[in-house]
Symmetry: C2
Subunit: 131 residues, 2 copies
Amino acid sequence: MFIQIEPQSDVPIYEQVTRKIMEGIARGEMKPGDTLPSVRNLAADLGVNMHTVNKSYHELEEKGIITIRAKSGAIIRSAEERALTTEQLQQIEKNLKPVVVEGMVLGATAEQIEHMIKKVFSDLQIPAEGV
Amino acid sequence: MFIQIEPQSDVPIYEQVTRKIMEGIARGEMKPGDTLPSVRNLAADLGVNMHTVNKSYHELEEKGIITIRAKSGAIIRSAEERALTTEQLQQIEKNLKPVVVEGMVLGATAEQIEHMIKKVFSDLQIPAEGV
DNA sequence: ATAATTGTTATACAGATAATATAACAAATA
DNA sequence: TATTTGTTATATTATCTGTATAACAATTAT
């Protein structure tokens, strides 16, 4: 697997793994139905402990992104299976708020921030509406 | 001061304080040149330790939002003093990315996310361009 | 000038989190 | 049947979070 970890980051390793996998899915490198590598294999690839990867997988499951089949493996859920709930929308907004507020206070305009979001989308090669 | 803390949140107290102060500035409740309450006073108001508030203030200073005058007090920097640097823009984008990616993977569109950002702006009663 | 306030620094402590290290278990798979 | 899988358990180390005191020196108020 293609994941690269920054050991001295302030972001915990398990969180980095979670994000990288989400990025992989967003990029389309991993598709619904695909099986994630076993926690032992991925841990060995990254040079980290099994439990660290296991924690990531459970975080992804809690977010509704994957399904863990006990003693079998983890598969990526399809878009239908993970239909966006209002709770999830609220959670996204909750996560978004402090970042946007900080940008505002530093002097960024709504246009600048919206531009960044389009950039994130385009960097992941997912066409955003009207771009 | 008007800050309310959630003791059992997964967000550290010092981070909550930092965010609430940024919100206050974004709302215009606190303006550039204004003095923040002393770390001891605010800590007493919130019922937390002095060092916890002190950590928030230093985080705000590191972000370029306030200036701490040693043994005197902390004042909010003006928009001119904190002119948005490219590094700060990159930092905002860096903070924005994982949140946006998660939204994408969960099925949110760029339009939905942009709408949330406009909502954050409007909730803080700061008019966003073209809204 | 004196007293109070301020951020700073230092030390110590307790609790939670992060990460690693082994190990064994039971179900699923080869 | 043997291997692989996630699960569970225990233990250890390090870092982070938060509190608790205390003293210091500069600023500010009286």
